[in-house]
Amino acid sequence: MTTPLAAMEKFETGVAPTWCAGCGDFAVWRAMKAALVQLKREPHDTVVVYGVGCAGNMADKLRVYGFHGLHGRSLPVATGVKLVRPDLPVVALAGDGDAYGEGLNHLMHTARGNHDLSFIVHNNGVYGLTKGQAAPTTPEGTHTPTTPEGVPEHPLNPLAVALAAGATFVARAFAGDFDRLVATLVAAMQHRGFALIDILQPCVTYNHVNTYEFYRERIRAIDGRHDPTDLAAAQALAQEWEKSIPLGILYQHEDRPAFHEHLPWAKRTTMVPTAMHQRSVAGYLKDAF
């Protein structure tokens, strides 16, 4: 499905992106706009929380209630927003260094809590904005400015970590495969609970290993050939990388309540009032004599 450019305009602030020519972030930006149009969202009833990095620099290019937070900390802010306004779609967006390095702890616990958020991770396997240092997903042995002798660690497997933490929607997409990227974003935002999309997104300036060519040689779509409700199968797919990279929704489970569904007003079908609400403590003072 092609979304008309005109329909996407309302999601633009008019600020020109600052990414390098050829950066995968352009595709993600456009896919975000297309997904929001398809979901019939309006700019004023959508919240996107950004981390810090090249990915986070989308913050003032997308016309929604945006929150450009701290490196590694988009998820906690997003959980706070969602708990107060469970009626609004809340998206968290960050790069791989932010999401899988600084913020890995938050990823695991947000997944564990099944907070109703979509986590869009731009995975380019490098720290771009700070000029090319190794990231958690950089292959072992890669030479970077901070690892001149080669990265000594085994790369992190973010999909495996998310599945182990209990994430109820885990998907991988590719910036060079636009239509599937949009469809995955739409599915994630419609999912009940926490959704992780790991978007393979080449960094044309600093990552000369994981290029568009590298990915095109390896990616294979799994839709139709995989049962996304099968956790064991999803975990097995998450292990595949070197020769073949599965693309699509690895795991999706809709039966677990989202975090906010445990809250008192969720049971009463009203949400936290954001208007003024002074209360009296007289009732509690009876115990204090």
Binding site: K10, T13, G14, V15, E42, P43, H44, D45, V47, V49, V52, N57, A59, D60, R63, V64, Y65, G66, F67, H68, G69, L70, R73, L75, P76, V77, A78, T79, G80, V81, L83, V84, R85, D87, L88, N105, H106, M108, H109, L263, P264, W265, R268, V272, P273, T274, A275, M276, H277, Q278, R279, S280, V281, A282, Y284, L285, A288, F289
Partner: protein, 585 residues
């Protein structure tokens, strides 16, 4: 050590897990229900069972707001209580201990003038209550008898403590208390000069500072509270968690303090009234969030319950050593308001006010408490809600976007505060940005814009300072010496000043609750009118005195500092101040 004649201090000590706290709280309630004033104070180690846990209550017909070091009645449930506290006994103090406990060695305590009263606590507990666990209730009953307390009131405090555990537990405890009471009446030949005679007084509350903060949050309409368990603020989280369902608020314990503060910022941005609570180590993790709240101009209340550091420090002890930390934490210059209530009652009102200030000025407001303030109970006059009004500040409900479809959320204003829009509001779309930004939240490195924004955010404090209350002067304006304190030293200073006045000294107390920003213009004439001054605080370097000097150019004549994890005990402080005053005058 001279003991003020109107106050009596009772102290109980035993292993942690042995019911010291619950017994102590029952004694506190016993005092207040007889119509007396009291202040309790506990010391306990960072463990669950064992070690040494002491709980003391100072009671008086006159107001008492701090612990007194000199002990008039000591109840010892293990040898360590005697070892640790024998040196605190007043002349003619009474010492109760289990007659059958072979591990207790009284030594030559009797020779020092103390009256020894061995009572078979465990034997009486087993025979009357059915369990040795009730040994401390036997001791409570014995205490009540020694002090001539009303047995109906004794039973009432037992009901308050144990009703929720069922009739059998309540019955066993009441019988145990009566057994201790009867034993003393029949067998004890000790006379205690202080009696609890039931007085006709309006009922007063038993409140800790932490409960005051929690109730203040409830009253203020807080709708999002997050915390990570950490002494000494955990009880605020627990209190609110227990009421979340009935109040319809979000109460969360996230994975770490970074998530605590960032989640609260998200909640506040989305329109909730948000508050977090922590101690020094947890606040260290929140520091980046302070800057985020400031830069995005998101309201936030941070309860910082101080305890000694550095690092893990003394987890279950008290200090006032994080004033500078709270004032400066986070990179660059991020304005904030610091509020340091002095007692449980002030905790309630200060918390309420802090929530209003945070939303009015759209910045972080700190509530500086500590273990001493947070965990001690004292009697409080029933809280008045009449004059309390929630003000949510400037929230634009019908915003107008510009031609690019963005709202000028951060436009410069005379006060520094610009109306904010909440997500979901049509016409109000903007970017809340941790980067420096223009009026719409778009990233900007422009020189003029940077200057405008830094000035705008700083301006807020200049606006706020005019409405913040001045410090309060307690006592005669023309006293020879003014004792200066902030936060939780209020109680010890007021009590020490009362002791000093009884000895003929001319002192008053200047107490600060609102410690930043300093209302310099109004403060300077007040400070100028003081004769001699002594600053008193619970940290090594005299942080508040240093701040006073830096902000107002005012230098105190002397300082009494203490950083050993203990609060100031009124009687000891009075003695120290006596010496210092003698040197000054």
């Amino acid at each position: 050590m001279a003991t003020p004649t109107t106050a009596f201090t009772w102290k109980i000590g035993g292993p942690s897990g042995g019911g010291m706290r619950i017994t102590g709280l029952m004694f506190s309630r016993l005092c207040v229900r007889h119509g007396y004033h009291f202040h309790d104070y506990a010391e306990y180690p960072s463990l669950i069972h064992g070690g040494h846990h002491s709980f003391q209550v100072t009671v008086s017909p006159e107001p008492v707001r701090s612990p007194h070091a000199s002990v008039d009645m000591l109840v010892a449930f293990h040898q360590e209580t005697l070892d640790q506290h024998a040196g605190e006994l007043a002349p003619n103090a009474v010492v109760l201990y289990d007659a059958d406990d072979q591990s207790i060695n009284i030594g030559n305590l009797g020779a020092s003038g103390a009256h020894l009263l061995p009572i078979p606590f465990v034997r009486l507990a087993k025979a009357n209550g059915g369990s040795s666990l009730m040994q401390n209730i036997v001791a409570l009953g014995a205490t009540a008898a020694l002090m001539g307390a009303d047995t109906a009131i004794l039973e009432s405090v037992i009901h308050t403590a144990f009703d929720r555990k069922g009739e059998q537990v309540v019955g066993g405890n009441i019988r145990s208390a009566h057994a201790g009471y009867a034993y003393v009446k029949e067998q004890a030949k000790v006379h205690v000069p202080f009696h609890l005679a039931k007085k006709q007084e309006p009922a007063r509350l038993v409140l800790t500072g932490n409960t005051g903060v929690a109730l203040g949050a409830v009253e203020a309409g807080v709708t999002y509270f997050a915390g990570y368990p950490m002494t000494p603020t955990t009880s605020i989280l627990t209190f609110l968690a227990g009421k979340a369902e009935e109040l319809g608020i979000v109460v969360r314990q996230p994975e770490d303090e970074i998530s605590v503060i960032n989640g609260a910022i998200g909640a506040s941005y989305a329109g909730a009234r948000a508050m977090v609570a922590t101690s020094g180590g947890g606040f260290s993790l929140m520091v980046e969030g302070v800057g985020l709240a400031n830069m995005t101009e998101t309201p936030l209340v941070i309860v910082l319950g101080q305890r000694p550091g550095p690092s893990t420090g003394l987890p279950t002890w008290t200090s006032q050593a994080d004033l500078r930390f709270a004032l400066h934490a986070s990179q660059d210059e991020a304005p904030r308001i610091l509020v340091a209530p002095g007692d449980a009652e002030e905790c309630f009102y200060a918390t309420f006010n802090a929530c209003n200030l945070a939303e009015k000025y759209q910045l972080p407001v700190f509530l500086l408490t500590d273990k001493f303030l947070g965990e001690c109970s004292s009697d409080v006059t029933p809280l008045s809600e009449q004059h309390l009004v929630v003000h949510r500040g400037a929230i634009e409900e019908h915003p107008q976007e510009n031609e690019r479809g963005l709202f000028a959320r951060y436009r410069d204003t005379e006060t520094g505060v610009s109306p904010r829009t909440l997500p979901g509001t049509p016409g109000g779309v903007f970017i809340a940005n941790s980067d420096e930004h223009d009026a719409y939240g778009i990233v900007s490195e422009d020189r003029a814009n940077r200057k405008t924004m830094m000035t705008k955010r700083a301006k807020k404090l200049r606006t706020a300072v005019g409405e913040l209350p001045l410090p309060v002067l307690y006592g005669d304006h023309s006293a020879d010496v003014t004792l200066i304190g902030w936060g939780s030293t209020k109680g010890p200073l007021l009590d020490a000043a009362a002791i000093l006045r009884r000895r003929g000294a001319s002192v008053n107390v200047l107490h600060f609750v609102y410690v930043w920003p300093f209302p310099n213009e109004r403060l300077k004439p007040l400070l100028k009118g003081l004769a001699k001054t002594i600053g008193v605080e619970n940290n090594s370097s005299g942080q508040f005195c240093g701040l006073l000097k830096e902000a107002c150019g005012f230098v105190v004549d002397d300082m009494v500092t203490q950083d050993d994890g203990r609060p100031f005990f009124a009687d000891v402080l009075a003695d120290t101040l006596s010496e210092r005053i003698a040197k000054l005058l």
